[in-house]
């Protein structure tokens, strides 16, 4: 009964952040769907892996992320099997092209999208046991503010918000940040502007969003909100072509404009949130 999200019950269910800052767990999320979360998750993972980090990508969109398609994997064991007790977590962690690991949800996971206490506990247990084994865990979440997304984000130490420069995407990103601030007391969000058509526009967009957040959301000076511009990724035909070829862009054409941008994102993350690998 208590797993939904009416305004007065959601505080009981969605743990206040930090629930337990779980190592370096980065949630890749967005307000609107289809803006490039899965593309960013997979390729950023490859970029970080090539810099020596042990990286795991988790399909926190419960099988809807299509990570298996992007990575051209045909998993025999998935998170679903771990949930149903058919397999051990170790067996569901697969090597992905690009030198990182991936935990795919499997199609049956949608069944678990009604987040009962048991499902939450199981998720928490799984993510907690992943954290010590990897330097970075990237969670590819669904779009919007479904309770699965909010729950996944609540477990992350950092939020990477992906948005495109279109007004609908920015409005939804802004609205989602509002919820993360209001409901999870999140104070820092990092913005990735994907599919940008003009260089340098990401910083301007970030400033704009920051101004509106300051004015309408962070009205309490004790609790400022910091929107940090993590970087821009240009529109690049290679992105689509890589998907059509079922190859990972970072692995095959790392020098294309989008590839260079992702490599830059990895360096920026290393400077700011992830310690350099030993």
């Amino acid at each position: 009964m208590n797993d939904g999200l009416t305004p007065d019950v959601e505080n009981k269910n969605t743990p206040k952040v930090p629930l337990k800052p779980l190592g370096k767990v980065l949630a890749v999320t967005s307000g609107k769907g289809g803006v490039g979360k899965t593309f960013v998750s997979a390729n950023l993972a490859a970029a970080l892996a090539s810099r020596g980090h042990r990286v795991l990508v988790l399909d926190a969109d419960l099988g809807l992320a299509n990570l298996d398609v992007v990575l051209n994997l045909h998993p025999k064991v998935t998170l679903h099997d771990v949930f149903t007790g058919k397999a051990k977590l170790e067996d569901a962690i697969l090597p992905a092209p690009g030198g990182f690991s991936v935990l795919l949800a499997g199609s049956g996971m949608v069944e678990y999208s009604r987040l009962t206490t048991e499902v939450r506990d199981e998720f928490l247990r799984i993510i907690s046991s992943l954290v010590p084994r990897f330097d970075v865990v990237l969670m590819d979440t669904g779009a919007g503010i479904s309770d699965v997304v909010l729950f996944a984000v609540s477990l992350a130490s950092e939020v990477l918000m992906v948005a495109t420069p279109e007004p609908t995407s920015l409005t939804d990103a802004y609205a989602t940040i509002k919820v993360l601030v209001g409901q999870q007391q999140r104070q820092t969000v990092r913005l990735i502007v994907n599919q940008s058509t003009r260089s340098g526009s990401g910083q301007a967009i970030t400033n704009q969003l920051q101004q509106v957040l300051d004015r309408f959301v962070a009205t309490d000076p004790e609790h400022p909100i910091q929107l940090i511009h993590l970087g821009d990724i240009p529109v690049d035909p290679e992105v689509r072509q890589a998907i059509m070829r079922r190859q990972l862009m970072m692995q095959h054409t790392p020098d294309c404009p989008a590839g260079k941008a992702i490599a830059q994102l990895a360096r920026t993350l290393e400077r700011t949130v992830i310690p350099k690998p030993a």
């Binding site: 009964m1 797993d3 939904g4 999200l5 009416t6 305004p7 019950v9 999208s113 009604r114 987040l115 779009a143 919007g144 503010i145 479904s146 309770d147 699965v148 420069p165 007004p167 920015l170 409005t171 802004y174 609205a175 989602t176 509002k178 919820v179 003009r198 526009s201 301007a204 704009q208 969003l209 101004q211 509106v212 004015r215 309408f216």
Partner: protein
């Protein structure tokens, strides 16, 4: 298969269909096997009739609670991924007990039937209306934008209040209903129980604030006001018109390039 070497898959006489036929006959269904109707087709017709019965409320002919629950389950799954607005209304006849007590149960039944048919007429084909309990009805309105919810619910309330329900040759009754409503949380996978609970709370509010009224749960706050949008996109509009491109972005011209921006906001 080999046990029924007959052309028919089963022997109708072994199936003891009497109970099923009695149920269907009671519902004014033709239960005789028609000339030329194969055993399988006849059986299918009986099964279809039983399925229909199991989803309908016998008194009012509306969907019953079971059918309502399954439609609600489906709606909540659609909303979780599509973000479509779906409104659930719970309706309760005001002071129904006094109708039963004062005019008898037959009068009460007549009131239920009249209101049911009034509700069925108020709605679009895509909507689902059900008898939810004794004097309670439920309506699921898919694709109902939050801006219209109150108007739709008010229209239903007024239609019922306008009825004059004949309960005997000499007597017609006026009845009112209270309505509570809640939207499915958009993009959110929640549960039907919680959704009903939220609508029920509003129904309780409508009752306790004097009956014959509508109370709706406000949809979840994910709204961005016009003012916020103006601030967010004033800058983009300028960007597109190319003003910023022509102005060098160094410190000296900052004043200049910012001035129209403030005006926009």
């Amino acid at each position: 298969m080999t046990r029924f070497p007959d052309t028919s898959l089963v022997n109708l006489h072994n199936l003891k269909l009497d109970d099923a036929c009695a149920l269907l006959q009671h519902d004014a269904k033709n239960i005789e096997q028609e000339a030329g109707e194969s055993d399988a087709a006849y059986l299918q017709r009986l099964i279809d009739g039983l399925c229909e019965l199991s989803l309908r409320d016998p008194l009012t002919g509306l969907n019953n609670r079971r059918h309502f629950r399954s439609v609600l389950e489906r709606s909540i799954d659609i909303v979780a991924r599509s973000g479509e607005s779906v409104l659930l209304l719970l309706l309760d006849i005001d002071r129904f007990k006094s109708i039963n007590d004062g005019h008898g149960h037959l009068a009460g039944d007549q009131v239920l039937r009249e209101i049911a048919s009034c509700l069925a007429h108020c709605l679009r084909p895509m909507d689902t209306v059900a008898r939810y309990g004794g004097e309670e009805f439920a309506i699921i309105l898919p694709n109902c934008r939050p801006a219209f919810g109150l108007a739709v619910a008010e229209r239903i309330r007024k239609s019922v209040a306008a009825l004059s329900i004949p309960v005997s040759p000499l007597l017609s009754l006026k009845v009112t209903i209270s309505i509570g409503g809640a939207y499915a949380p958009e993009w959110v996978r929640s549960t039907t129980d919680l959704w009903i609970e939220r609508a029920d709370k509003q129904l309780y509010r409508a009752k306790s604030e004097g009956r014959d009224q509508v109370c709706l749960d406000q949809p979840r706050e994910l709204s961005v006001s016009a003012e916020e949008k103006g601030l967010l996109f004033g800058h983009l509009l300028m960007d597109e018109s190319g003003i910023q491109e022509n102005v060098p972005r160094d410190a000296t011209s900052d004043e200049q390039s910012n001035a129209p921006k403030r005006e926009n906001a």
